[in-house]
């Protein structure tokens, strides 16, 4: 599992091991300033990073 959140310190405190920084706390996987096509491109890229985090074997907690 990977948790996507902008509050990675909170996620770390509660013991999450695999964390990816999201955008804002009220839209972790959104970028409303961008036009829709660009926002989707940005989100695809972010989710690709999330998948890469899932592919990374971990022994210690890590914030990607």
């Amino acid at each position: 599992m990977v948790v996507i959140t902008c509050l990675s310190n909170v996620a770390t405190q509660v013991g999450v091991g695999r964390i990816l920084g999201g955008n804002k706390f009220h839209y972790p996987v959104g970028q409303p300033e961008l036009p829709p096509e660009e926002e989707l491109r940005w989100r695809v890229d972010l989710m690709d990073k999330g998948l890469a985090a899932l592919e990374t074997p971990l022994k210690e907690p890590k914030v990607f």
Binding site: M1, I4, H26, Y27, P28, P32, L51, L54, E55
Partner: protein, 348 residues
């Protein structure tokens, strides 16, 4: 010396379930359990009034009920507030807990209630409220009311050691969510902590830190190309209209919603139930919390095998950590049972 005593419709003698919708009502004399306590204190010159409110009314119209209770308090000006005892009655216990905590916080007068240790009201009681332990049913009424009277006697005589002994012997141990480190009012202690922090001095929070439990970090078994990936969120995203009534805070449930055949989550079809963040941006495009559109692009590009048929959702605000653990375990069990190999969880 004035005592205001909160009772539900039943113990105030107004009626049974058919009167559960009764609005809060000030009765300028002691009735029901109040009459017993008044009689026990008859040498004390007590002025007694009852505040009666229907069990359903309190919960369904909490704001109006509290408005009526405020008016009653301002009219009667009590020195002491009582509620119940509620034994193991859930609606009544919750109302007693909430109203006592609210009165204690707003008027700084002693507040006493009584209930059984399993009453859900015990989880809603604020600091400083006396919660006398009772039996599970009204069979323990006489004994419970003796304890109410004993505590009131001690409060009236300012018998501090007697009060502390009473608390230790007869009150439920309500776990405190924080520890006041001095007798100063809340706002003074808060300002002191802030000043200490700004001056780089040592300070200690009154709120206990939640110690992180060390969980093993699960790694992927095999390749993502063969894995089903699921989306989970604590962001409260539900179909428009919230058909399953997911709570917007203090979540106690989780739900799963089908996304099979959907390319994205559109405005107007889904909405977020969550008092912990401004949901307007997510409501305009729900993919900003459950990134279905992006995951479909990556699924088509064969970045992973397939997206799970449903996304899972709960509300992660104001909730009990123990309840959240239960919800997490429930979601994990369902996902593992459906052959899901990896999870992306979005959190606000």
């Amino acid at each position: 010396m004035k005592i205001l005593h909160y009772l539900n419709q039943f113990f105030a003698g107004l009626g049974g379930e058919e009167k559960a919708g009764q609005n809060a009502l000030l009765i300028p004399r002691a009735v029901g359990p109040g009459a017993v306590i008044e009689n026990a204190l008859k040498d004390r010159g007590v002025e007694y009034a009852i505040l009666a409110c229907g069990d359903n009314y309190f919960h369904e119209q909490e704001e109006q009920a509290l408005t009526a209770i405020r008016a009653a308090i301002e009219q009667f000006q009590p020195d002491l507030f009582l509620a119940g005892p509620a034994f193991n009655a859930g609606r009544y216990g919750l109302a007693c807990a909430k109203v006592c905590s609210w009165v204690r916080d707003n008027w700084r007068i002693p507040a006493i209630t009584g209930m059984h240790e399993d009453n859900p009201g015990t989880k809603e009681i604020g600091r400083h409220v006396f919660v006398i332990q009772t039996g599970a049913s009204a069979a323990s009424m006489p004994e419970s009311l003796k304890r109410f009277s004993l505590l009131i006697e001690r409060l009236l005589s300012d018998n501090e050691s007697g009060i502390e002994n009473f608390r230790a012997e007869y009150c439920l141990p309500i776990p405190r969510r924080f520890t006041a480190r001095s007798a100063a009012p809340d706002y003074v202690r808060a300002a002191d902590l802030l000043l200490a922090k700004l001056k780089d001095q040592a300070y200690e929070s009154e709120i206990p830190r939640v110690e992180a439990k060390q969980h093993p970090i699960p790694n992927l078994t095999g390749s993502l190309r063969n894995a089903t990936v699921a989306l989970v969120t604590e962001g409260g995203l539900v179909p428009k209209g919230n058909p399953d009534r997911l709570e917007s805070s203090r979540g106690s449930k989780y739900f799963k919603y089908a996304i099979e055949g959907r390319e994205d989550l559109s405005h107007g079809e889904f909405e977020a139930m969550h008092t912990g963040y401004d949901t307007s941006t997510v409501n305009k495009d729900p993919d900003r919390i459950v990134p279905l559109d992006a995951m479909r692009v990556l699924e088509k590009a064969k970045r992973f095998n397939k997206l799970h048929s449903h996304y899972f959702v709960t509300t992660g605000t104001g909730a009990m950590p123990s309840k959240m653990e239960e919800i997490g375990a429930g979601i994990a069990t369902e996902l593992a049972g459906s052959g899901v190999g990896a999870v992306i969880l979005t959190a606000t």
